[in-house]
Point group: C3
Chain length 673, copies 3
């Protein structure tokens, strides 16, 4: 791709009247150069079994081609037609909550044979029909795919086969999962109980892992079909999304992209894609911090250690998310600063009925111009002008945050606190980096990339194999810096708590252990950041250092003798263990002390959030610095670089000069000769 992809999802099918020419004219005004189509329109494509209708597809591709707007084709499989649901009573996923009812999307059993038969047919027909079109630059397979909790008879039969393959004997299964507890042991594979009723966390978590594997297999299957038709230059992508956090608005489906996706293993799922894609939604107005854009981008970029597409992000969804002036532009450049090479809004026009009526697009329901659309014109123009500078910027980070689906799932069964989830810990550790302007990758335990980092940050890695723990130990031994939180290394990959010193294996590098942990009530820590909020919440481990140095202790009548945070040298490396949930300020102080002491200070900028600085290397090898003001106030920073030019304004700055940023402003400083 030469151009930065700037666009939107486009649904000719949903339009109240024929507006195609008018829409394209407005798109061109905004320098929109790509639309995504078709991904939810199965019933339009095939209103009756085998009766295909390409009216909307063809006219949109034709018109876009004429207008020089690229097209991404989405396979339409994530929402099935009513006639298909009626073909096989097992098509809709049977879950813990019982049988499904037709109506919504993303509700099928993705292993169901009937579904797969018809899905394959429509995929083949659609891709064959469109792959040869010039304007079609790539394909999105399915949409925000998950396993939808599918747990019907067929899925459980597959799971049984998976378990037999994995454990061979029921005795092995009984032992690994602790099935003797509460008489769950089985004497025959036929006695394997319905997983939906289980209270055994090992069994339940293994099932969720299996369900995530179904997602990867399903996506790989779709990709393999598309590959039969696509041209070499056409990409295959998918919009991987995140754990969704409700924010309590009254609107249907309110929420935003919060953390690691529980229902998909992004690392595995991304393997079949030629380019990773993602959907990122976030709070806006006064709540716009940029953290979700950065977190999501860092995670998706790290999957393939490459640039990626933002296939969906918000334009002006419902009353909560109408951006302030400047915010839409700031958001777009924030995605780019994380390595995105495409930003597409969901969606072009606000839909006039059904369900997502108030997930408003660039155009409101009146389909006229409005302040948000007007701002997209500014973005489109700037992106066009800067395409040579901003495409395929490289990101090289020496810090990684290590995440894990297994840790997430197991902590749902054994929560740290009702108000502290795995993703809360991930975001606590990630956001504290982000606000310090320490850029990082976000990698999975499956990744082979540990050794390329100087520092690995490990949030609450509760369920983790000895293999991974040994790799982390080796990472420290070899000179790496490891910073891990409480609840790390607690249980094995089958959610069995290790029966020796905690944290298992890693206590060797941390130089600390514990065997009691308590609820903090009116507990503070001392020894670090005395001027910050030193309150401890949700969780505290009573750490007993062996050779570790105590960085912080608890202030408490009875627990005062225990350590709260420790540091240790091990091999050529260093290891910090954080035994409690602190304020972000305290965690930032730990980071700063660590990076200073470990000579990793190059990672730290002087500026802090709401000024965000993100770096990248342009195609010409020059360093780019994105300066972003995440606040409603004007800010001023001092230029720390010898000489830079702001690509957006053309202004140049020398070291020591003042750089002004208006509210929600962005500057892209490039090293100048």
């Amino acid at each position: 791709m030469e151009n930065f992809l700037f666009g939107a999802a486009y649904y000719d099918e949903y339009m109240p009247y024929d507006r195609l020419e008018q829409d394209i004219a407005m798109m061109k005004e905004a320098n929109i150069n790509v639309v995504r189509i078709a991904e939810s329109t199965w019933s339009t494509l095939e209103i009756r079994e085998g009766e295909y209708n390409f009216y909307h597809i063809d006219r949109v591709i034709d018109a876009m081609e004429k207008a020089n707007i690229d097209v991404i084709i989405g396979t339409p499989t994530y929402a099935i037609p009513s006639w298909l649901a009626k073909k096989d009573k097992d098509i809709l996923a049977r879950t813990k909550n019982g049988d499904g009812l037709y109506g919504g999307r993303q509700n099928m059993d993705i292993t169901n044979k009937t579904f797969l038969y018809y899905a394959e047919k429509i995929i083949r027909v659609l891709i064959e029909h469109t792959a040869n079109r010039k304007g079609v630059i790539g394909f999105q397979i399915d949409n925000e795919t998950k396993h939808y909790g599918t747990a019907g008879t067929h899925v459980q039969q597959l799971f049984k086969e998976y378990l037999i393959e994995k454990f061979d004997t029921v005795e092995a299964l009984n032992k690994e999962f602790g099935f003797s507890y509460w008489s769950n042991s089985i004497g025959s594979w036929d006695d394997l109980p319905d997983v939906r009723g289980t209270i055994n966390a090992s069994y339940a978590c293994e099932f969720e892992k299996f369900q995530r594997q179904l997602v990867s297999e399903y996506l790989a299957w779709q990709a393999s079909i598309v590959r039969e038709y696509k041209r070499e230059d056409q990409f295959i992508t998918h919009n991987l999304d995140f754990e969704w956090k409700k924010f309590g608005a009254s609107i249907a489906q309110d929420g935003y992209s919060y953390g690691v996706q529980p229902d998909v293993n992004h690392y595995e799922a991304a393997k079949c894609l030629t380019i990773a894609g993602t959907d990122i939604y976030h709070m806006t107005q006064d709540e716009l911090t940029g953290a979700e854009i950065a977190f999501g981008g860092d995670l998706i970029r790290s999957l393939k250690q490459d640039n990626y597409l933002v296939l969906e992000t918000e334009a002006q969804a419902f009353k909560n998310w109408v951006p302030y002036p400047g915010q839409l532009r700031l958001q777009a450049f924030s995605h780019i600063a994380s390595g995105a090479i495409g930003v597409m809004y969901w969606n072009w026009h606000s839909i006039h009925n059904s369900y997502e009526t108030y997930w408003k697009g660039l155009l409101s329901h009146d389909l006229k111009s409005n302040p948000t659309y007007e701002e997209s014109k500014v973005i489109g123009r700037e992106l066009k002008e800067l395409k040579n500078e901003l495409m395929h910027i490289k990101k090289i980070n020496k810090v990684a945050v290590l995440v894990s689906n297994e840790a997430l799932t197991s902590l749902k069964w054994f929560p740290i606190d009702k108000d502290l989830t795995y993703n809360d810990v991930v975001r606590w550790m990630y956001d504290s980096l982000y606000k310090l302007n320490i850029e990082c990758d976000v990698i999975f335990t499956e990744s082979d990339d540990f050794e390329q980092y100087e520092t690995i940050i490990v949030p609450a890695l509760y369920s983790v194999s000895e293999t991974v723990l040994n790799r982390l130990l080796q990472f420290v031994k070899n000179g790496g810096a490891l910073i891990a939180s409480f609840k790390t290394g607690v249980s094995d990959e089958h959610v069995t708590v290790y029966h020796d010193d905690q944290p298992h294996i890693l206590n060797e590098c941390f130089g600390v252990t514990y065997n009691q942990f308590v609820e903090p009530k009116n507990v503070t820590i001392s020894g670090i950041a005395p001027d910050k909020d030193t309150n401890i919440k949700y969780w505290m481990e009573l750490l007993k250092p062996n050779n570790a140095e105590v960085m912080a202790s608890y202030n408490h009548k009875y627990w005062g003798n225990y350590a709260a945070i420790t540091k240790n040298s091990y091999g050529k490396g260093k290891a910090i263990y954080i035994g409690c949930y602190t304020s972000e300020e305290v965690l930032q102080e730990v980071y700063k002390l660590a990076f200073k002491e470990y000579n990793l200070g190059h990672n730290i900028q002087k500026e802090r959030w709401p000024i965000i600085i993100r770096k990248g290397i342009g195609k010409d090898g020059k360093q780019l610095y994105f300066y972003m003001n995440y606040s409603s106030d004007e800010r001023e920073v001092i230029c720390p670089y010898d000489k830079v030019i702001d690509l957006l304004s053309g202004d140049t700055y020398k070291v020591g000069e003042r750089i002004f940023l208006k509210d929600w402003d962005v500057r892209i400083l490039k090293e100048a000769d």
Copy 2:
């Protein structure tokens, strides 16, 4: 009717021992002149199929006749006998929540053939048995009928026929409901999906409209049976009730009459009645405001533009609703002030077991006198004395509040805010009138009466046909004053958002439009009522006036350029648009400014709540003024009338004289010669 109907529901069937004579003696002491019987006693009437037992019916009618107490017969159909439920597994309504279990009331599929067969039989047997009795003055058909969410196979088949009748082709349906969204389009009527699973608001709202139509048809069917037997002088009524708002007490079924009934179209349902009836329950003690009595009464009276019956209201239900001294009397006269010609308590005696044990009647469980019963004696005596003055008073209002079932239902799907329902907006607009002592009618969009008003108040009329919008536009053009809130005129009758300028059609008379709306956070308005609470909550539209004058703007860094409230002249009329949810004080200020400017000031009284003034015209054509003190403090008002006499005390007042009202007191001032 000659006498004001003062009475109670009476259940001889539930009595712990034979108390009929004793009860009648106590009723007579209280001048109670009517009882409602039979309406929940099917299993007593027909303990086994076809085995009828009129023991209780006959002895009560006999005894009441002897005592000169009238009887209203309720058809017993709203609670079915166990033997009937066992006859047909489809009798209990199958709803979104699955199959019903026998036990409660109001749980049947009102379209079920078996139910209707046996219901018809028992209605015929009962009405035939009682219609010829002298004391029987009328019939109540069923009881607080709703559709009970009925959505089983048979109902959905009827709905399919209704849709075929309405849309003719699946293509028309697909288009009107936006079924292309998420692949919901159907290629054949047989593919119509189960409405219980739908995410399509248009489909779901149409189904609810259809369900409300089932209620109207069911009541009309019962009325038609009763008409075959009843005498000319006997009335047919039904106790229409209201959206029930829980107030968080621990008692089973806690709640009170709050707003428009979601499950019944009162306007349509009332057509089969000879007199409208209602059930009104409300908070009491310190929370007694009179607003529910006024709102419910104004709505029910407006249905047939005639007097109505309060068939149920509370005596002293559970711990929360034991009235303070004076309140029961104040409540009774408040009903009359709205045009009621009957006030009946639910119920005479507190029930000793089962379920509604603490919905206590006039008598507590000891069946002896108590302060509440004692107060009923005062009321009964006064009503008897004043019957010539208080029967059939006429209410003539020039202001109407316009409500709509469609707006209510559609806003459940697209809520303004999780804490602001349609009825909250209705009550915000109604109560602000009420507290200003501006009397109004409450009319439905189906009503033909628009032109009889000077002012129409329109709360959040979200889903509304172009026909109604054009009638409103015409109303203004012809000289009417229209005051509408945000979220009016947004979508058509099929809940499809209009795709041109908002508010659709009416933007012409309001002279204002908008295409963005946001969540107000720390936003106030300026330009109106600077000394009141000017905070905005829940919703704000960013109004762009065309020719309208700005009454209020937002105070906000980014939204400060938009208007919040506007006024405009259009044709011979005036139109005010309120784009945000304000405090009641601010809304009252808007009303006052409007009424003053539009020369509608005759509607406004000097007094404000907690002094409530309601007007009526007596049979002799004289004006009556009900003065009511809704507070625990004594109040004093200045007589604004030339000469009036208080019908209750006989005191006379001249203009400028002070009138004292004790706590929770009432005075009925009549124009004197």
Copy 3:
């Protein structure tokens, strides 16, 4: 038994590796002398139908025998193997919430024939196998048995037979339960409706009583089987537990032992046991008050008016319950002070997987020593040293709190307030005694022991037969002191409100009645404890004294004329009626006034909580005084006894001498000669 039983539940089956010798060594160090085994291990005992495996049972009994540690065998029936669940689709209890899914424990229909057949077989096999073992000192039948809401077809058939037996005719049933209400009357036993759908509180409460009876019968059946095998010296016990109150932690199954068990009639269930046993769990750290230990102990001891076993209590469950130093020891002696002759922890070792992973045992997951285990060593040593002093101490109380399953169940249907349950009232009345150091028994209405008390305290005895009411009246007449709360004597045993003066029958001794009650809003009382918190919450009855003396009145504009608390003389006795929910301080003041006036002052100690004093009589007839400091502060008390010796320290004190108690300390003072 000679030795105080100090031990833990032990699960060799769950161990991650063979630790038996190591565990026993650690047990011996802590003077642990008993383990409970087998009670949840059916699937290990019988992995396939009829294939028995005693590997773990035998090796544990062998090893324990060798180590001189006694063994209690639990029948394994409370968690069934998967193969059994698959045998009969009706084995898992069908409840209000539908069909069960296999997975957890305590989920079977305890009347199911298939279940009972296999349960009997495994019980016989296990008991036959173990009863002759020397170290086996007794048997626990099942575990925390309840009815699990079982309400399937078979159970309802049994219930129908129970009702026919009880009422003989449907007419009698209709009348007693008020089935005429909402057409619930039946004309034939075959029309009896599914109890799961009923809204009739009488029917529903009778069913819950029947379900409790099923529990008693089931336990008696298990006991009868065990009796066929057990030696004379072996006991039969069961761990009766309490209503579980969630405390809002995030951990699975969080909660603690709060009040009367709703699902078991402890009085009836205990009849088949040779010694009562119990499970008591409670808050700890700053929330440790001792109240749950005292309440549970007093109730269980009173069942058989004898010593009892604490079969389960917490060691250091999850983060919330890790004890402060001293607390584990204080807890152990608190159990003894209530009459326990055994304290067993649940459990020995923390389980490494499945579900209750963080209900941690004496050993943490590392299976090494830790502060909690270390403290158990102190306890074990002290118990061993003091066994002659502390075994079988006798408790003689003159005060009893009277509780009732029927009152509890009926108040679920007719709650006093959403925030005030029956057990809240029980605990309000019990805890106020406890904190005043007034010891009491906790007896059921079924008990014959009324006459042995001087004072009976009656919390909210809502549903109660005339027989019990007459016994209470007689108790007063004969010279007893009765102190009852609001909502006492309201309805009969079939939850039909009495239709004469409230409180039924007892108004004679209280000299007071009422027929109205209200929600208190900003109401205080005057006349008592003016320096305390006199606010009234949740409930107030408007009391009209006949001959009673008013102890307190309400401060309220309208309710000020009514009494709030009254006292009266009746026969040779006294009776206090408390018509409202006061603060604990006010209730304590009522108690103190009553005990003073009624010459029952011998019950009151000078000290108050957090100093708790509990008394007992040792085997040698000497008085023992347990002094316990339930606080983090050191406390000092003055010795009121002529001469006592602290059995723990050997210190002696004379009257007037100061006795120091460290934080969470205990002293056991024994009368010295």
